[in-house]
Symmetry: C2
Subunit: 101 residues, 2 copies
């Protein structure tokens, strides 16, 4: 695929990578909860979203790897928070974009 003129190819690809992370119901819900709560443990997220333990851990690890979450270990807990607290804005941006013609 050739580059577009408006958006350079690398910028487009990094946007795609971010979009892929949040284009998933569990992961977007995690972003949403962390927007409100700022800092939660894996277990808190797991319980708030009623997830299997392994799913919570796997998705959170993925989100860390992709640079969406940052984590801090405290004893046997792991606290995670949004690397970019305003990330949830995407949802209202989408709503704005997709309502008027």
């Amino acid at each position: 695929m050739v580059l577009t003129e408006r958006i350079e190819a690398d910028k487009l690809l990094s946007a795609v990578n971010m979009l892929k992370v949040i284009a998933h119901p569990v992961r977007l819900a995690i972003v949403d909860l962390l927007t409100e709560n700022k800092r939660m443990t894996v277990l808190e997220l797991q319980e708030a979203l009623n997830l299997e333990q392994a799913i919570a851990s796997q998705q959170i690890t993925l989100m860390e790897d992709k640079g969406v979450l940052v984590a801090e270990r405290v004893g046997r807990n792991k606290y995670v928070s949004l690397r970019f607290p305003k990330m949830i804005n995407i949802v209202s941006c989408l709503e704005n974009c997709c309502n008027e013609t």
Copy 2:
């Protein structure tokens, strides 16, 4: 998975569906090109992005099905345009969200 308090479950899911459509390099590039050109044929998009004919047709059909593009047939050409012209804003929104902490 349980609903979050901040964003209702159905709103979250429809956001996820839109995000999935644009979380793909070819499809985001199509959005980008149509932001500039407003109205293009399948062939024009195919050539601008250097795609195989089948890929262009398949991705454009998918984007129509998901409500991102609208199409109009004229003779043997099919003109497509963005259903929501401001959709590309998502990219700059992402940039804004993901730069400052």
